[in-house]
Amino acid sequence: MVNEVCLRTLDLDRPWRLEQYQSRGGYEMLTRILKEKTPPDEIIEEVKKSGLRGRGGAGFPTGLKWSFIARNAPGQKYVVCNSDEGEPGTFKDRDILRYNPHQLVEGMIIAAYAIGATRGYNYIRGEFWEPYERFETALKEAREAGFLGENLLGSGFDFELHSHLGGGAYVCGEETALLESIEGKKGQPRFKPPFPAHFGLYGRPTIINNTESLASIPMILKEGGPWFADIGVKNSGGSKLFSISGNLNNPGVFEIPMGTPFSELLEMAGGVKGGRKLKAVIPGGSSAPVIPGEQMMDLTMDYDAIAEAGSMLGSGAVIVLDDTNCMVKVLERMSYFYHEESCGQCTPCREGTGWLYRVVSRIENGQGRQEDLDLLNDVAARIGGRTICALGDAAAGPVAGMLKHFRDEFQYHIDHKKCLVGAG
C-alpha cells in the first residue's frame, strides 16, 4: 500500500509528461466533472468524506475550508497552491512538482470549479527551479490539451493557472504572507480575521492549500471519499507523503497510509545509518517537539498518535537523530533559523526568537547559567499564542520538548562547560 495517491505514477518513465499521466487515467475525473456538470456541493461533500486534512502542517480539514467560500457571490475568486515548502525537514512537494505535476494541475482545476474560481496561482519557492520548470511544462501541456483557458472542454467553465516564484523567505509559507508576496510586497503575515476565504488574494475570496492536499483531490473524487478515508485511520484519512531525513541509510519521500507504524517507515528509510542507536525523532518538521527514539518506536504515523505523544505530525517531515547528536546543538540551530526568519512584525516573536537563540547558544558554548533552563521555558511560553502568525509558536514549540526529554544534556553543558555527547 505505497504510492497510491500523489506518487502513483512514479514507476513510469518520465511520469511528469501529460501522455504518461493520462495513461493512468489522468484528467479523466476533471473531464467527467465538466461533462456531467457535477454540482460543486457534491465535490466538496466528497472531499469532506475523505477526511483529507491540510498537508501543509496545520491539518485543517480541506473540504470544510472549501465550504467557507461564498460560491455564488459575484466577482473574482482565487485558488492558490502553497508550494513554498520551507519548513526544515520537508521535501515532499518538490517531488510532486517534479514527478506528478499534472495531478496538481488537475486538482487545482477541480478545486477552482468547486469554489467558482477562474484564476489560480501556484506559489513555488524561488530556489525550486527544476520543479518550477516541470510545473511550467505541465501548464503548457494542459493548456494545449484544453484543460486550461477558456470554456474548458466546452463546459463554459474558464480557468487560468500560473506559477509565482518566491524569493527565499520561510515566512512566505504562511498563507497570508504568501498572498502579500504574490501581490508584490514583502511577505509579512496579515492579521486574521478576516480569513482568506473572505478577504484573500487582491482582497478577493481565496482558498489556499498545500501542494499535497490539492494533488490528492483527483484520486479522492475518482475513487470516492470513503476509499481515501479507509486508507488511513480515524481522524487521519488517506495516505501521506513523509519526508524522512537525518541519520539514515536511505532517506527520502515515502507515500504510505496514515497510521503506519513509525518502525516500518524507519525500515523503508533503511534504518539508522551505521547501525547506530536511534536517539530521537522530530516527527513533523523542525517546529514539532522532539520525541525520544524508544517512545517513537511504539508510535504510529497519524495526527492523533503523534499529538498524544506531545508533538505534532505537521507537514510529515520526519528528522531522525542518532546517538552522536548533541541536542543542545540541534536546538541552537533550530532557534537560529526561527530568529533569522522572523519577519519582525510582532515584538514577542522578534525579540523572543533572538533571546531563545542567544540563550541556547551560550549554553552550547559553555557559558550557560543554571537559571537559563527556566529562562528558556519562560521565553518560549511568552511567545506562544501572542503573535500574528504561527511562526512564533513554531519557534517556541521545540524548546519545551527538548528540555523535557533531554534536560540532562543541557544541564551537563552548564555544569561542565562541554558536551555530554562524544568528545565535544
Binding site: E87, K185, K186, Y202, N247, P251
Partner: protein, 168 residues
Amino acid sequence: MNTIEVNNKAEIFSTEIRGEIDQWVAKYPADWKQSAVMAALRIVQDANGGWLTTELMNDVAAYLDMAPIAVYEVATFYSMYELKPVGKHKICICTNVSCMINNSERVVEHLEDRLGIKLGQTTEDGRFTLKEVECLGACGGAPMMQIGKQYYENLTPEIIDSILEGLE
C-alpha cells in the same frame, strides 16, 4: 506614492528583458502589475551578474509604476536578492538540521579551504561567493548546496571538487 516619471518605458531595459518581465506582468490582473516585482528583480539581477544596484531597482519601480521604496522593501526582504556584488558562481550551502547532522560543516570547511574565503565572502577573482542558507527542501540528499539554478546533493569533498572543476 512617489513614483518615477518616465516618458518612454522602452528605454528602461533591453528588449529581451522587457519581454521577459512582460510575460510575468501578463499573469496578474491588469491593475496589479506590482505582482511582477519579484520576477522583475530576479530577471534584472540575473542579467547584472547576480546582484541589484539601486539604479536597477529604480528602473524596476519605473517600469512597474511602483514607488522605489516599495521595490527596495521587496529586494531587502527576500534572501535571494543580492544588494552587493557577488561572484560569478554563488554557492549556497544549507546548514539547517538535516544537513548539519549529515556533516554540512565539512562541506563548508572544504569549500572555505579550497576557495580561501569564509562564508559570506567572494574570491578575489570574482568567481565564487560562499553563502550559508536555510533548508532548501532537499534534506533527503543532505548535505546539499545550490549553485545557480542547480541543486547538488549527497556531497562529499570529492564530489564538491568535481563540481567546481566542471564550472566555467
